[in-house]
């Protein structure tokens, strides 16, 4: 990207540091814009929906990689953090939209970036790129991510001293607690009159998240743009982390916890950091999931959902970010593609998993990235030589 020499310790020129910080985000924006403006309009609603789920699942799988892959902790509560983010963001967007746009009819107020794939520009009423509704949405998503990160801290700090099976049980319990808590919230407030909506104080609405009936009618803001913006940022952040000193510290914990301690790695601190970071991204992904289907139902976020993400990262190779991306994409699209086999599709899906695990128990890419694998590396080297010779 920049022609500056790459410094080993990140202690390069003062001008190089901000540039190196920013270009992944520029790339993420480009990917998101490409998905939204180029890919989206060329496919029907069903395909777009599958792509949305793929992007959300990529975010979840990559964020789980930070915990299960990097630090080697076995968390099976990832769906719980997703639910926290989804409820917080969904609730905020719903109730804030009512209050802010002063209408009991909760409606979509987004700009072009949040307009669905079926949106066709109307020259008489052009949509802005970003509208006030989008700002509410972005704020709500960030709030969802932050609350999920907070939950990650609260769960992580006491439990990350545990190892292996014990941590798995605690995170399993956390996921179930989250589910039960949201199922115990009060009924969703469906405003019928503008006056009623204006008179209800916001804090009274905080707990009205629909309970067992679920939380519905959330305006749909999540588009390919936002979903792939988040997915790209998550991937960029995870890659950055993996090749940084803190990331190496996390991986050393997975490799040998005692040796990591002997190297001076504060093991508990790095486990908690990885856990909080993963929870943050899971919360954001949960927020976009809620804003893409327009509803939240806690029963869909139990440990079975958590296992979906575990399967993705085990298949991709624990600790491999490109592996997680590939596995999340394939495992989202595959069940849809197998739909024609109908009742056999879950069997085919399970069989595929078994076969891959027998043939490649370390996952597709192991802990390495696809470009670090021997054959790919040789191919890249040959291409590089060929390119310079030509």
């Amino acid at each position: 990207m920049s022609s500056q020499p790459v410094s080993v310790k990140g202690s390069g020129g003062a001008g190089g540091a901000p540039l190196r910080m920013l270009w992944p985000f520029a790339l993420a924006l480009a990917v998101a814009a490409f998905m939204h403006f180029v890919v989206g309009p060329n496919f029907n609603g069903t395909v777009v929906q599958v792509l949305l789920f793929a992007g959300i699942n990529i975010t979840l799988a990559v964020s789980l990689t930070m915990v299960n892959g990097f630090t080697g902790q076995f968390s099976i509560g990832h769906a719980g953090f997703m639910a926290v983010g989804g409820y917080v963001a969904g609730g905020l967007v719903y109730y804030l939209s009512a209050r802010f746009f002063d209408s009991p009819q909760i409606a979509f107020h987004g700009g072009i970036l949040s307009a669905g794939a079926d949106y066709r520009p109307d020259p008489d009423h052009p949509l802005p790129l970003l509208s006030r509704g989008d700002l509410i949405m972005i704020g709500s998503c960030l709030a969802g991510g932050l609350v999920a990160a907070g939950a990650g801290y609260v769960v992580g700090l006491p439990t990350l001293r545990l190892r292996g099976d014990y941590l798995a049980i605690v995170t399993l319990g956390f996921g179930e607690i989250v589910r039960v808590i949201f199922q115990g919230t009060g009924p969703q407030v469906l405003f019928t009159k503008a006056q009623e909506m204006r008179d209800t104080p916001l804090h009274q609405l905080a707990w009205k998240l629909g309970g067992a009936q679920g939380f519905n009618f959330i305006p749909i803001y999540a588009t390919l743009f936002w979903v792939f913006l988040l997915a790209s940022i998550t991937v960029a952040a995870a890659l950055r982390l993996k090749y940084s000193s803190p990331g190496r510290a996390m991986i050393s914990i997975r490799e040998d916890e005692v040796a990591a301690q002997a190297m001076g790695v504060n093991v508990t601190r790095y486990k908690v950091r990885a856990f909080v970071l993963a929870s943050f991204f899971a919360g954001l992904a949960g927020a976009l999931a809620a804003l893409s289907i327009g509803q939240m139902n806690a029963s869909a976020y139990g440990f079975i959902k958590s296992f979906d993400f575990i399967i993705m990262i085990v298949l991709g190779g624990m600790g491999s970010i490109s592996g997680a991306v590939l596995a999340a994409t394939v495992l989202t699209i595959l069940p849809e593609a197998l739909r024609q086999f109908d009742s056999y599709r879950m069997i085919a899906y399970a069989l595929l998993l078994i076969i891959i695990m027998i043939l490649r128990p370390q996952g597709l890419f192991g802990i390495r990235e696809v470009w670090e694998l021997g054959p790919v590396r040789r191919l890249l080297a040959r291409a590089g030589r060929g390119g310079s010779a030509a």
Binding site: S252, V258, A259, Q261, A262, M263, G264
Partner: protein, 236 residues
């Protein structure tokens, strides 16, 4: 002033008393060795110094400061690093990444120079620099464990059974390098079952038996003593 002073150190694993009040000193610039049979408490002593186990009682002073019971990452920062028993290398990381982790606590500019120095001591590691550490031979892994511990630029280097599971010739090489490391100014506390080799390189030695120090003397003298020759050197 002694670099390390341990006084009446006791360590328990549950109901088992692993160390029953040991006292020892390490003078700067020396190689001090702890020898003794399996389960005597040699590794436990090192683990207590590096903070991996908490002492039940007694004191550990490093450069006059009490460090007993401090967290391992704080002890590394003070200048003590360890090549743990069984090497503890990060098998799925490359040699380069393992060495970088050895310098994890350091923020100074000398890291690269120290890596060159470590690779100079262990040329085999330079050949294997981008290879996963798990693919190295046992001897190379031990070299990596020592090189990695050196990356912390320790004033006291703790070596736990560097000869474990290695062929005699490889052991010889490793001990020659241990001597070189010491000659360039690093104080070493060496735990060994191979008493012959250990007494050969060390200045001072302690003999540990079931959690207690039973003998302490200059290494050369201990190597001559009848008791040590009979019990630990397999002669006489």
């Amino acid at each position: 002033m002694s670099l390390l002073v341990i006084d009446n150190l006791q360590v328990n694993y549950g109901a088992i008393k692993a160390l029953r009040g040991i006292s020892l000193k390490v003078e700067p610039g020396q190689i001090v060795t702890l020898i003794g049979s399996n389960g005597a408490g040699k590794s436990t002593t090192l683990r207590a110094i590096s903070g991996l186990v908490k002492p039940a009682s007694g004191s550990i002073l490093f450069e006059g400061k009490p460090i007993g019971g401090a967290a391992p990452h704080k002890i590394v920062r003070l200048g003590i690093s360890q090549a743990p028993e069984g090497r503890g290398i990060f098998a799925n990381l490359t040699v380069a990444e393992n060495l970088a982790l050895g310098a994890f606590q350091r923020r100074d500019a000398g890291v690269e120079a120290d890596r060159e120095k470590a690779l100079g001591l262990f040329p085999r590691l330079r050949e294997r620099f981008q290879q996963n550490a798990g693919t190295l031979s046992g001897g190379e892994q031990q070299m990596l464990a020592i090189a990695r511990a050196l990356m912390a630029r320790p004033r006291l280097l703790l070596l736990d059974e560097p000869s474990l599971g290695l062929a005699p010739q490889v052991t010889q090489t490793i001990f020659r390098i241990i001597r070189d490391i010491n000659a360039s100014g690093t104080t070493i506390l060496l735990v060994e079952q191979n008493a012959n080799m250990a007494l050969d390189v060390a200045h001072h030695a302690y003999v540990l038996e079931v959690g207690e120090i039973v003998l302490s003397d200059a290494a050369a003298k201990l190597a001559q003593s009848d008791e040590v020759r009979k019990h630990y050197l397999g002669v006489g």
